[in-house]
């Protein structure tokens, strides 16, 4: 078991290094001179040369990468070209909203969708099952940003239950803050419920046809216990992997939701930086999200043996 944990942890390191390298070199492909971007067209050649030297742009690419990597390990992500702020603290500052929305949405989606999918599998072919599958397919097909707009239209503009624009942090006013993030959470949860219902249902159907389910029934185990003790724990393991993917999916798509609901999160930061060609920020946010995603998947991998003891043995 300890060996399994260690193996997984070590296996993540090369992936993270490669992620860092690909982000770094991707950003170097951006056309135009970063120093020129900072100083503007009116700058003197001397000023540009000075800035290039201080930014390390006069060194060779591998040297630049090594320098950048060593700064990165010290937690230094550089400074924003547009605002001059340090990128690290900027990201952490914006991450709060994003994390709150994504985690709440995943939690709600898992709590609703996984039991629904498993029950649908148990009653495979019943009306309830057909309804669950149809609902899941429908939810899967609704674009999150559109769903967000519609919810905003109904609950914000028509009913006036929630504010339409703006954001208040939890520190300022928790009750008001909740109103601002309620709809984003609902939107994301609804969209992911579709994926999760289908996955939970499919893996439960797989498990229910196996002999150990028949074996449990042949021992006279009551149906509720067959499901809770024998079917669901085994069906949950593959679903757990998907929860990691869903979390990543949400992180990747968060920019759109934050745009719809005008929330000052990480996704919005990234999109604004792309418009401003603020490459230290783009680079920082991409790295950060990839790091979070890899960590989440690592956590899923480490949790997996709890539900499927065969994995750790391999």
């Amino acid at each position: 078991m300890a060996l399994y944990v260690l193996k997984r942890l070590l296996a993540a390191i090369p992936t993270l290094l490669l992620v860092a390298a690909s982000v770094f070199f991707l950003m170097r492909l951006i056309p135009g001179d970063p120093a020129l971007l900072v100083l503007g067209d009116a700058a003197t050649p001397e000023a540009i040369a000075d800035l290039r030297a201080s930014m390390g742009l006069d060194r060779t690419l591998p040297v630049q990468f090594a320098l950048w990597l060593s700064q990165l390990l010290g937690g230094d992500l550089g400074f924003s070209i547009t605002s001059g702020e340090a990128v690290g603290p900027l990201i952490l500052d914006r991450f709060g909203v994003t994390a709150a929305i994504v985690l709440a949405a995943v939690a709600i989606a898992v709590l609703l969708a996984v039991p629904a999918g498993m029950l649908a599998a148990w009653k495979q072919g019943s009306w309830g099952d057909i309804a669950a599958v149809s609902l899941a397919t429908l939810l899967l097909s609704i674009p999150s940003f559109w769903l967000g707009l519609i919810l905003l239209l109904v609950f914000g503009l028509k009913l006036g239950w929630v504010p339409v624009v703006g954001y208040v942090t939890f520190a300022e006013n928790p009750w008001a803050a909740l109103h601002y993030i309620l709809l984003p959470i609902a939107t994301l949860a609804l969209v992911e419920i579709g994926v999760l219902i289908r996955m939970a249902r499919a893996s439960t159907i797989e498990v229910l046809r196996l002999d150990y389910i028949a074996h449990a029934r042949a021992k006279g185990v009551p149906e509720s216990r067959v499901l809770l003790r024998h079917a669901f724990p085994n069906a949950f393991a593959p679903t757990l992997t998907l929860v990691g993917l869903v979390l990543g999916n949400l992180l990747g798509g968060i920019a759109v939701i934050e745009t719809v609901f005008t929330l000052p999160g990480l996704g919005r930061l990234l999109v604004d930086a792309i418009f401003a060609r603020d490459y230290p920020v783009i680079q920082g946010v991409m790295l950060f999200i990839a790091l979070v995603y890899v960590s989440v998947n690592l956590a899923v991998d480490l949790l997996y043996p709890v539900f499927d003891p065969r994995v750790a043995a391999e």
Partner: protein, 527 residues
């Protein structure tokens, strides 16, 4: 009084009936075997008895009574109370019949907790005693283990322990040892019989294997296509079957073929001190030691000779068969074909070797490309050596198909053929290029008895006609009786005994060979 009474049972899959009008009884303490080939409806019957028909099947008529009580009249709760202490069931596939996420102890205790009023300590004691009884060493510690930590045979013992712990009056055993290797099979079955005798349980044994019926059943009921064909006491029924189908089943049991005297000749293919190792799995810290599947084996096969390579699972027999065709690389020793060293040959030399050798695989479902028509499958070998025009290849493929009894079926795809027909296609593909040497890897093991008999006959006729040398890899000594000139026995990667068929089968020299022979279930009449 009878424990189980089945009257006019009908089971339907949609509109089709898979069991029709089946009636039988099982008396207290007796063993009744339901015998039949695939599709006979025997497994569906077993599932119906315990009320666990898989989705898609339903009981469409008839009555099942346990100890005089009709099951359909019982409430779900009463039925559950019956399952376990009333009737228990052992499944075929030990790899999937235990919950992989639960410790052995918890799974065994579950039934006791449901059906007996015992405290946790006595439950644990009972589990330990039962594990010990089925031959699991260190039972106390093993209660904490997960199923994946055991071999298939061990799992089947644990399964048996968990069922017999509740002392069922009727034990339903659905092909309980089919997935196990010959030696383990015999041990698990004897154990099952002993436990049943000790506890006075009756057994409903579902099997396709007449040898098993002869050895373990009191009475037998032969089923074909959902109907009872013949019923009676096991020994007389097998000794003098009255119905044609039963007669065909009995006739399909292996009979020893005549011994042949082969002319002396130089070896066609020869393995000299051949070793095959599977590389250990790479890790971050170390590479596991390579697994030696075949360890320094020397074996020569002469032109026109049929050699049976026998052994249990893990003996290395399949690996040796593949290595002799250079489908697996040798890690040591050499391979000679017609006197030429082909151990490491490449390019044209390897192609020459490949052109002269062929293989027939065990599983006809996976050895034929499902996207190709049967004619194209059989014509494909004729691409090489290059030069034969396509119409000629097609013509020869048709002729070959006709020769294996599949004339006119060239346009079919493999999925439109039965298992036996597919294996005939595989044989046609192997023989169409007239090879000098053929490896048959468990080539008939996946087939029903009557079909197996026909396919063996086909292989033997073709061998006599074409005169290729054949290495027949098998765990089944019955096949050896039918077809082999010489027998080679392997255990743990080494050859432990080798000699003419009659000598090895009648006077085995090695303990392992004797154990294999004892475990192989042959009818008393033919043994």
């Amino acid at each position: 009084m009878s424990v189980l009474e089945v009257a006019a049972l009908r089971i339907a899959a949609g509109m089709r009936e898979v069991v029709r009008d089946l009636s039988f009884t099982v008396a207290e303490g007796e063993t009744l075997a339901l015998v039949g080939e695939s599709g006979s409806g025997k497994s569906a019957t077993a599932r119906a008895v315990i009320g666990l028909l898989p989705p898609g099947l339903r009981q469409s008529g008839g009555r099942i009574a346990f100890a005089g009580q009709g099951l359909s009249a019982l409430s779900p709760a009463r039925l559950r109370a019956l399952r376990g202490p009333g009737m228990g069931m052992v499944f075929q596939e030990p790899m999937t019949s235990l919950n992989p996420a639960q410790r052995i102890g918890a799974q065994m205790e579950e039934g006791l907790a449901l059906h007996r009023t015992l405290d946790a300590r006595s439950r644990r004691q009972a589990c330990i005693a039962m594990l010990e009884r089925v031959g699991i060493t260190d039972p106390e510690r093993r209660l904490q283990a997960f199923p994946h930590e055991f071999s298939g045979g061990m799992r089947q013992r644990i399964m048996l322990a968990s069922v017999m712990l509740l002392r069922p009056r009727l034990l339903i055993a659905d092909e309980p040892t089919t997935a196990l290797d010959t030696l383990t099979q015999a041990e698990v079955l004897s154990l099952m019989k002993e436990l049943a005798r000790e506890q006075g349980s009756a057994i409903l044994l579902i099997t396709h294997d007449l040898g098993l019926v002869a050895r373990h059943a009191d009475r037998a009921l032969v089923m074909q296509a959902g109907q009872a064909v013949e019923e009676g006491a096991a020994a007389p029924l097998l000794a003098a079957p009255r119905q044609p189908y039963t007669q065909a089943l009995v006739a399909a049991l292996p009979r020893r073929g005549p011994s042949r005297a082969l002319p002396q000749a130089a070896p066609l293919i020869e393995a000299r001190d051949l070793s095959v190792a599977y590389p250990g799995r790479g890790g971050w810290f170390r590479r596991a030691a390579p697994m030696q599947a075949v360890q320094g084996v020397s074996l020569s096969i002469h032109p026109g000779e049929v050699v049976a390579l026998v052994g249990g699972s893990g003996s290395g027999k399949t690996t040796l068969g593949r290595a002799m065709l250079r489908l697996l690389p040798a890690s040591g020793g050499s391979l000679l074909f017609r006197g030429q060293d082909v151990t490491a040959s490449t390019g044209p030399a390897l192609l020459d070797f490949r052109l002269a050798c062929q293989i027939v695989f065990q599983d006809p479902y996976s050895s034929l490309d499902p996207r190709m028509r049967v004619r194209d499958i059989v014509a494909e070998p004729l691409r090489l050596p290059a030069g034969m025009p396509i119409p000629e290849r097609q013509r020869r493929a048709e002729a070959m198909l006709a020769e294996v009894g599949l004339g006119g079926l060239g346009d079919r795809y493999p999925h439109a053929l039965s298992g036996g027909q597919r294996q005939r296609v595989a044989i046609a593909r192997a023989l169409v290029r007239n090879p000098a040497f053929v490896v048959a890897d468990e080539a008939v093991s996946a087939l029903d008895a009557t079909v197996r008999k026909q396919v063996i006959a086909l292989l033997r006729d073709q061998q006599r006609k074409r005169g290729f040398a054949c290495l027949f890899v098998t765990h089944d000594l019955g096949v050896v009786e039918e077809i082999a000139d010489r027998v080679v026995v392997m255990q743990s990667g080494r050859i432990v005994e080798e000699g003419p068929r009659d000598q090895v089968l009648d006077a085995p020299a090695h303990d392992y060979t004797r154990a294999l022979l004892d475990a192989s279930l042959r009818l008393p009449a033919t043994a």
